[in-house]
């Protein structure tokens, strides 16, 4: 048995294992990075649509019409001409987070369905968009920034609406020590001050 050859095999093997490990790590990191970018883009698209809707709550309504219909932490329904200037009249817009309905397009079990529906009053046309998010919460605040209680009765006290979203990647990026999958998370929150609810009669 040639000691030199055996030693070469052992050292060569160790080098090979190191190179393969580095290669695996680099590939894993590249996929994590891609998932992070995709997740950021998803959040950006969602926040764009949501910002457009929430800033325009109550816009273009006939005199006396209340902007708010439903006010819950996981569901808001309001009237608005969210695309003011087009040939559409105002519509009823609903944002609803269904925390018991898994988002089927994602393999992440923490992803649930967030639905945006837009129904033009008196029309059967219903535009629906679905998003997959892991957390969605709406908080209704008054002029002083305190949470408005007794909704929907006290809906005219609302001046600010805080929306909080957490988006997780559709695929797991790695596994933790106990073997559970880890998902990339992106958080976003914003307080909206819709112009058309600032002067509602209290």
């Amino acid at each position: 048995m040639n000691v030199g050859i055996v030693t070469s095999f052992v050292i060569g093997g160790l080098m090979l294992i190191s190179i393969l490990t580095l290669n695996v790590q680099t590939t894993k990191y590249a996929s994590e990075s891609t998932l992070e970018i995709v997740n950021n883009i998803r959040m950006e698209s969602l926040s764009d649509v949501l910002t457009n809707d929430f800033q325009k709550i109550g816009q273009g309504l006939p005199s006396g019409a209340s902007p708010f219909i439903t006010l819950e932490s996981n569901r808001i329904q309001f009237r608005s001409d969210a695309f003011y200037g087009d040939d559409r009249d105002f519509s009823t817009i609903t944002w609803e987070f269904r925390a018991n309905e898994e988002f089927t397009a994602s393999s992440n079990p923490n992803d649930y369905t967030l639905i945006r529906s837009d129904v033009i009053t008196g029309s059967l046309t219903n535009t629906t968009q679905e998003f997959g998010v892991s957390h969605f919460e709406i908080t209704y605040l008054n002029q002083n920034g305190s949470v408005v209680t007794g909704l929907p009765g006290n809906k005219n006290l609302i001046r600010k609406i805080r929306v909080e979203i957490i988006c997780e990647s559709f695929e797991s990026t790695s596994k933790d020590a106990s073997g559970d999958p880890i998902y990339n998370k992106v958080m976003w929150s914003k307080i909206f001050y819709p112009e058309n609810v600032q002067y509602l009669n209290q």
Partner: protein, 140 residues
């Protein structure tokens, strides 16, 4: 010398490979840091926009007058904590500062104030500050 040539080659290869590994890990770390900082910036911009929106709806002009007891700048700097998740799993702290200065706009009959909102976080690179501006006008 011939007896040691293998060891010398092997040492050279290990040094090159170690340098490569270190550079790769360094790249991963830098990238992670940039990703984290971009999350901070993204949410910091939302904090600055929230503050501008809040200032936009202040109806009392005294809050923009430097000598007034209710002057807006007296409330700052303040710390804004952004929490996310069911049990506040994630938390970011921002320092918000507001600067108010009277400004004149050519052709405007209103009294105008330039409000600058500065948002910072200790983990942003090079003491970076997110700055947003808003012109608040009051009719004469």
């Amino acid at each position: 010398m011939n007896d040691y040539s293998d060891i010398i080659f092997l040492t050279g290869a290990m040094i090159i490979f170690s340098t490569l590994s270190l550079n790769t890990v360094k790249f991963f770390n830098t990238n992670d840091q940039i990703e984290y900082q971009s999350k901070l910036q993204y949410n910091g911009i939302a904090v600055a926009q929230d503050k501008i929106e809040e200032i936009r709806w202040i109806a009392d002009e005294d809050r923009f007058k430097a000598g007034s007891s209710s002057f807006l700048e007296r409330d700052y700097p303040s710390t804004v904590t952004q929490t996310y998740g069911d049990e506040n799993q994630f938390e970011f702290d921002y320092t918000v500062n507001v600067d108010v200065a009277p400004t004149s706009i050519t052709g405007s009959n209103a009294t105008n104030y330039r409000v600058t909102v500065l948002v910072s976080n200790s983990e942003l690179p090079d003491n970076q500050t997110i700055t947003t501006e808003y012109i608040k006008s009051f009719g004469n």
